[in-house]
């Protein structure tokens, strides 16, 4: 599969995750989000940016408790929980937010 962004074709896997993580930029993220029916607001970007920062350091997306804790610090304690993250990313913060952040899909029993 592939994604068209600004006249450039970007390769993805069967489910729409980027094949090459280096292809990511904010415009690409916007296109993926559109396909996912997610309207990106500032708080969505906070999550996506944190995922990318964490991935750069650890080569994996953060565990849910690591993510909620970090988001709680950035956006306020009332938002540091998975309920809020599901509001932002209804198909699940791990998978849908990772896809928009251009990261590989978390695998396993999750």
């Amino acid at each position: 599969m592939a994604l068209e962004v600004g006249g450039i074709t970007i390769e993805t896997d069967e489910e729409g995750y980027l094949a090459n993580l280096t292809d990511w930029n904010e415009e690409v993220a916007g296109e993926i989000a559109k396909a996912e029916n997610v309207a990106m607001g500032p708080n969505h970007w906070e999550v996506v940016n944190f995922l990318r920062e964490y991935y750069n350091e650890y080569q994996i997306a953060p565990a849910v408790r690591v993510l909620t804790k970090a988001i709680g610090k950035k956006l306020g304690a009332d938002k540091g929980n998975s309920k809020y993250l599901y509001e932002l990313f209804p198909y699940g913060p791990a998978k849908q937010a990772c896809k928009i952040a251009g990261l590989p899909k978390p695998t396993g029993c999750v």
């Binding site: 729409g16 953060p62 849910v64 408790r65 690591v66 590989p104 695998t107 396993g108 029993c109 999750v110």
Partner: protein, 498 residues
């Protein structure tokens, strides 16, 4: 690509055998593994040119290795006892999801090539060639069997139907038709050590976060040690316990149990996965290689005991296969079960009065228990008959005041699969997963209506992930699902062992 729209079947007042819907699931199939994924496991990257010859040769090889497989293929009399026992059949109505019909996809090819009558008079005995269409059916419908073995419980001949599914998957892997979800995960275990692909530094960072969280909650230094030499117990857990909700609450529960009992334990970054997807594809070599990491870690760390966390098929592999895969275990402490399930450890501590609970802390919960298929039908616990049913319920009753079992034909050895087992917990199979959960959802609804049940405990990471996903399709709250040690963790009395 947004999530596909999936509609759950309506919950009926009492279970009804569905009207047949031929071909209704003919479009359901998982992604085929890429060349890179398959080759990393030593399988052909893609469908090989002489796939027919190699598939039949592999079938012959498996028949030679397993007398049981030949008996299972020979002895079915098509009595029909299994037809309405499969959750995928009950949820989809597709007749090829009747266990007998699914097995016949292999059985007819077996007859054609390995029985005299089938070689001479194929039409008379229902023997058929392995055509492209039949192979396609294998890929679709053996990926609609979660190897839960419920149908086997009702089979008067004791045919282990999962063995036939596993054989079909093994043959498909041999010819380059591996399934993406399962094979990608097995590759990650070989390379990184767990299904998630969580590297050591990330694991340490995650566990540090857990320590901080529990400190905030309890004020105590409850530890989540990793790679700690000198520990008595190595705990291997499904890696989802590090990563996802509600799994992580059980991890907190285990840590609190060890803290309260004053047992020195450790996790391992080398063996950071209890799960063993080698079982799902019926491949002994993959299974052995995955299990070997546990032995290596245990010996490296010098532990005296190995304990397995809340993971259904991991416990089946540990309980039934570890001894042949990675045994003997004469170097471990024989005064404890080898290996030991976390429920056995916790139950033993409860019996000896070494840990206790403030049950009222779980009073907001009315609890039921979902038996996971591999634990229920493929293992034991506590060294007593039916211990795998008794111990988890005993722990729940020790930690909670309100417990109600679901209908007897849906629990214990009759339990229904969650709908996501056997390597089918993949997003592209969501429709199958939602529909396959129907029988469990109906049983759950009964206790919700009758007793106000609001929490379904289980001891399997797949069950937890599957139910979190599918509960909302049936208008239940996704937070209704959780682990037995989540309940333990919320109510256990913590001493000053920090």
């Amino acid at each position: 690509m947004a999530a596909p729209e999936v509609h759950a079947p309506a919950l009926k007042e009492y279970p009804v055998i569905p009207i047949l819907a031929a071909g209704s699931m003919a479009a359901s199939k998982p992604y085929v593994a890429s060349e890179k994924i398959n080759e990393a496991l030593g399988f052909p990257g893609k469908l090989v040119d002489d796939w027919h010859g190699r598939a039949i040769a592999k079938m012959g090889e498996l028949l030679g290795e397993s007398r049981a497989l030949r008996v299972y293929l020979d002895s079915c009399v098509h009595c029909g006892a299994c037809t309405d026992k499969c959750h995928y059949f009950l949820g989809t109505g597709d007749p090829k999801n009747m266990p007998v019909a699914r097995q016949d996809l292999v059985r007819k090819v077996y007859r054609r090539h390995f029985t005299l009558a089938g070689k001479l008079f194929p039409k008379l005995v229902g023997a058929e060639d392995l055509t492209q269409d039949v192979l396609e059916d294998w890929y679709k419908y053996f990926n609609q069997c979660s190897e839960c073995r419920r149908c086997s419980v009702y089979c008067p001949y004791g045919i282990d139907t999962a063995e036939i599914t596993m054989a079909a998957k093994e043959i498909m892997d041999t010819i380059g038709m591996g399934q993406k979800y399962t094979n990608e995960i097995i590759g990650k275990v070989h390379k990184i050590g767990n299904n998630l692909g969580l590297p050591g530094p990330a694991l340490k960072n995650t566990l540090e976060t857990m320590e901080e969280e529990v400190k905030e909650e309890t004020g105590l230094d409850v530890r989540f040690p990793v790679d700690e030499p000198g520990a008595e117990v190595l705990v291997v857990v499904p890696s989802a316990d590090f990563f996802a909700e509600p799994h992580v609450y059980s991890l907190i529960g285990y840590a609190k149990v060890f803290h309260a009992a004053g047992i020195r334990w450790t996790l391992s970054s080398h063996a950071s996965e209890a799960g063993n997807f080698g079982l799902f594809i019926g491949n002994y070599e993959q299974m052995r290689k995955i299990a070997l990491r546990v032995r290596e870690a245990a010996q490296e760390l010098g532990v005296r005991r190995i304990v397995v966390g809340e993971c259904g098929h991991a416990w089946r592999v540990a309980y039934s296969f570890w001894n042949t895969l990675i045994g003997p275990f004469d170097w471990l402490d024989a005064r404890h079960p080898v290996p030991q399930h976390i429920c056995e450890l916790t139950w033993d501590l409860i019996q000896r009065g070494a840990i206790s609970f403030e049950r009222e802390k779980n009073d907001h919960r009315i609890v039921t228990f979902h038996d996971s298929c591999n634990v229920a039908r493929g293992s034991g616990m506590g060294g007593i008959p039916r211990g795998q049913f008794i111990l988890p319920r005993g722990i729940i009753r020790a930690a909670c005041n309100h417990f109600h079992d679901m209908a007897p034909e849906t629990i214990h050895e009759h339990t229904f699969c969650c709908g996501g087992g056997g390597g089918l917990l993949s997003d592209e199979l969501l429709e199958l997963r939602v529909k396959g959960a129907l029988p469990r959802m109906e049983a759950l609804k009964q206790v919700v209506d009758a007793h106000g049940v609001n929490f379904m405990a289980t001891i399997c990471a797949i069950c937890k992930a599957q139910f979190s996903k599918v509960l909302p399709y049936y208008k239940f709250d996704m937070e209704m699902i959780g682990g037995v040690h989540q309940l333990v963790g919320d109510a256990i009395r913590l001493g000053r062992n920090d």
